[in-house]
Symmetry: C2
Subunit: 499 residues, 2 copies
């Protein structure tokens, strides 16, 4: 397969694929034709197909991204686990949020007809793949899995950083859809910048999910909002993910914190959306040498794409030029082993500045995608809490504290719970488990909509719309809403959980 | 109290009230200081205060809106029932959606740290009151109740159609907040067009809820989306609420359908968001005389405001000018009993046209707020189903059919479930019960976001944001997330419902 064979998708084809998705939508939404168990089997079939091709996929992705076959094989496993968990979620059926109120004769406002509410698929979803997870946040990644689990056809816009991996994954998704008997139009992959813009404005697309840069995400968000009929745009844009360390934590385990922090900053060469971009340490922390040593020993790696490499260098320059900033340590960039069109390697760079300088310069609290971070030195507990309060929205934040830090811990938790989707205790923001209780979201600019998550079972809620049937004869109701409960679903009936 | 005393709120005061709301936000969000039971008692206190003042409030509102004291007293009762139901919802605690995953040691992607997720208040909410429900969708109406129940401070922008009613209601809300010990800034009322624009762009406001015209709603939606940090804007704009009647239903109960339809069109003088704006009848239905008679006997009433009156007349002219339209019946406008600044009365007007003319002219499927509707005559079942498929999003649709209509009933249900938030069987779209299973929402232009409702317990979800705590010591967790479960909340623990 040759990269030049993967052409940008034409406007006519994008339109035709959206039309096919719309046609598939009604069939997929029909729980008589497509009960939860059948959706689950599609997801499980896809997981099995990815597992069976894991080595091939990891090889393709390593050639395109340089992320290494170990990491990439692990990422395929994470992607198949995600599909398997969502298959469980679909089979569980609680995601349909069935609510049944039988008619009640009463005087006044408590009177009601028979009302039955459930969630149903929103319709065709556009998914914009990310650069940094060629599997978990790409063609068959979390957004695609959640949309298919919810019963929505998906049109994925491939990331240009791994087109062949995307194409091969798409073949597997298409085959899994065929094997499950899903209608044509259930899934398609498009390529190209213009195809991406067209997707979000196509009238047949009813929601969009995006993981990428603040600039690209904002442009697509604005297009979605400016439609004659705006659609929800679930974008993950950029996140600073600050870490707050108390003096007692430094005293108790400073070396461990220095090593853990640099490890989190340089994981995936800093190209994770949860990379900590700020580390708040008490002035006089004494960790400068340990941090510098960790930075110098981190192995430089290729950046994902030339554009991301350029963005990293320009972002790092912006940091270096800010008031009060000093260079703390820099690793050499190493030899560029990159082939044509690939990005060079980049070594980690660590800066430091007084916390007061960080909080008064908003650009220091903006994500710089790549292996860099800023150590912000605070004078006292009040300045630490004020800095936390000055942070923009993040996907995750972390607190390192000791049992004696009761007061500052409570103050930080109080402030931070409205500034991030996830608060990590004595750990690092990187590492996002795929499990029921995960929240991967956060206030702007971390995401475009803080009430949702893009990881975990509750990610389905983005693609589901409530509908209520009033006074409808039982045999005409969807099975999910019948008193006989043929699908065995949990429900709230007349205000109480159905036993 | 004199209307001239209710001045437009200055920019400085709007800002100061938003600042106060932000200050109140943290305290209200704290479930240690403000447990669900305390939020519930605030709502119940407000309900009791409204009940105690029902006669005074209805009198004020009748003077401002002319809706009649019977209807208005009933609306106060509906509003207090709404507060009482939401108090139950808060006490129930399921709305917090607690999910707990204990740590799991495993190889690969199933490994996880301890993760605990719950919903928390989004922060200060701007509520834009509606003209047509001076209680149920106004100062202490559904949006305010849902936001307070969720733990969010509220700044309401009063509707200019009933300023004194709004002011008096606001006094009761403020007193109820004080009685419950809520922080200053929990609630405030502002007046004026510019204050409304300022509210949705104030950086301290984190979400907005609106019920009103498509033009006003779109303008505010665009402001919300164009912020540097866009916020969710939950707007209910305009809805055509079509009704589909089979030939068998006409044969079985034509007179009842004609009377029921005109009753639904003229309820509240057509100034309901769920008024049916289209009635699909089979050609040769023979109901023209019954419809005309019902229209002529409907009592004309004052329109809510001069602006709404103007909008109705211009909208009715647009309908009259459309291709294929004929006047079916018109009631006289009656005597204008309006005082200075009040709108004149308007009589009901009914038009008719072939269904084909309706579906090819989108303006005929746009809401005309007031006592008018169009009877669309279809040739056969296929044309009826095609017309249903051509409808824009609605809050509600209705189907009138008989047991023998199995096939067309299924076809209509299949098409309509993605075009409305509620499907009414052998009934009328007007009448929105406040109960667990209610869905009051729908695809654009019915609302700006079809995944939510503005009525019923699930309306809280609009104002709640997930946060996940990772590896946090039990004594630092919110009580809602502790294994000891001091608040007695339902939860999903390690994937299963907590018994």
């Amino acid at each position: 397969m040759n990269e030049t064979l993967i052409a940008e998708t034409s406007a006519a084809e994008v339109e035709s694929r959206c039309r096919a998705a719309a046609a598939a939508s009604a069939e997929l939404a029909d729980l008589a034709a497509w009960p939860p168990s059948r959706r689950a089997s599609l997801l499980l079939g896809l997981a099995a197909a990815l597992d069976a091709s894991a080595a091939e996929l990891a090889g393709l992705a390593d050639a395109e991204t340089g992320l290494g076959s170990g990491r990439l094989t692990g990422e395929v496993a994470r992607t198949t686990w995600q599909l398997q968990l969502l298959a469980d979620v679909v089979a569980d059926g609680a995601f349909l949020e069935v609510i049944i109120d039988h008619a009640r004769a009463a005087e006044g406002p408590q009177a009601r007809p028979d009302l039955r509410r459930m969630l149903q698929p929103i319709g065709p979803v556009a998914v914009y793949a990310a650069a940094n997870f060629p599997f978990a946040f790409s063609v068959a990644g979390g957004d695609t899995a959640a949309a298919l689990a919810a019963g929505c056809p998906v049109v994925v816009k491939a990331h240009p950083g791994h087109p062949r991996t995307s194409q091969r994954t798409a073949e597997l998704v298409l085959q899994a859809c065929r094997d499950a008997g899903a209608p044509d139009g259930t899934f398609w992959l498009v390529h190209g910048f213009e195809a991406g813009r067209q997707l979000v404005t196509d009238p047949r697309i009813k929601a969009a999910a995006f993981t990428g840069s603040p600039r690209g995400g904002r442009a697509l968000f604005d297009l979605a909002a400016s439609r004659p009929d705006p659609i929800p745009f679930y974008g993950e844009l950029g996140s600073i993910n600050p870490v707050f360390v108390t003096a007692a934590a430094v005293a108790a385990r400073g070396a461990e914190i220095a090593a853990g922090f640099v490890g989190s900053v340089t994981l995936g060469n800093g190209q994770f959306c949860t990379k900590p971009g700020l580390l708040f340490l008490p002035a006089g922390h004494g960790l400068a040498d340990a941090l510098a040593e960790a930075v110098r020993s981190a192995r430089p790696a290729r950046m994902l794409t030339p554009e991301i490499s350029d963005g990293f260098r320009s972002g790092a320059r912006d940091i270096a030029d800010a008031d009060g900033i000093r260079l703390l340590a820099a690793a050499p960039d190493g030899q560029a082993e990159a082939g044509p069109g690939q990005a060079p390697a980049a070594g980690a760079v660590l800066y430091t500045a007084p916390a007061a300088d960080v909080t008064r310069q908003p650009r220091l609290a903006q994500e710089c995608f790549g292996p860099t971070s800023v150590v912000a030195e605070y004078r006292d507990e009040d300045e630490l809490v004020e800095a936390a309060a000055a942070m923009p929205g993040s996907l995750a934040v972390a607190i390192h504290a000791e049992p004696g830090d009761e007061q500052v811990s409570r103050r930080l938790l109080e402030v931070l719970r409205s500034r991030a989707g996830r608060i990590v205790w004595n750990g690092w923001p990187t590492g996002v488990a795929v499990t029921w209780a995960m929240q991967h979201g956060g206030p702007w600019p971390a995401t475009t909509g803080s009430i949702h998550t893009s990881v975990g079972p509750t990610a389905l809620r983005r693609f589901l719309v409530p509908v209520t049937y009033q006074g409808t004869p039982a045999h005409l109701l969807p099975g999910a809403l019948q008193d006989a409960n043929p699908l065995g679903l949990p429900a709230r009936v007349d205000g109480e959980a159905r036993g």
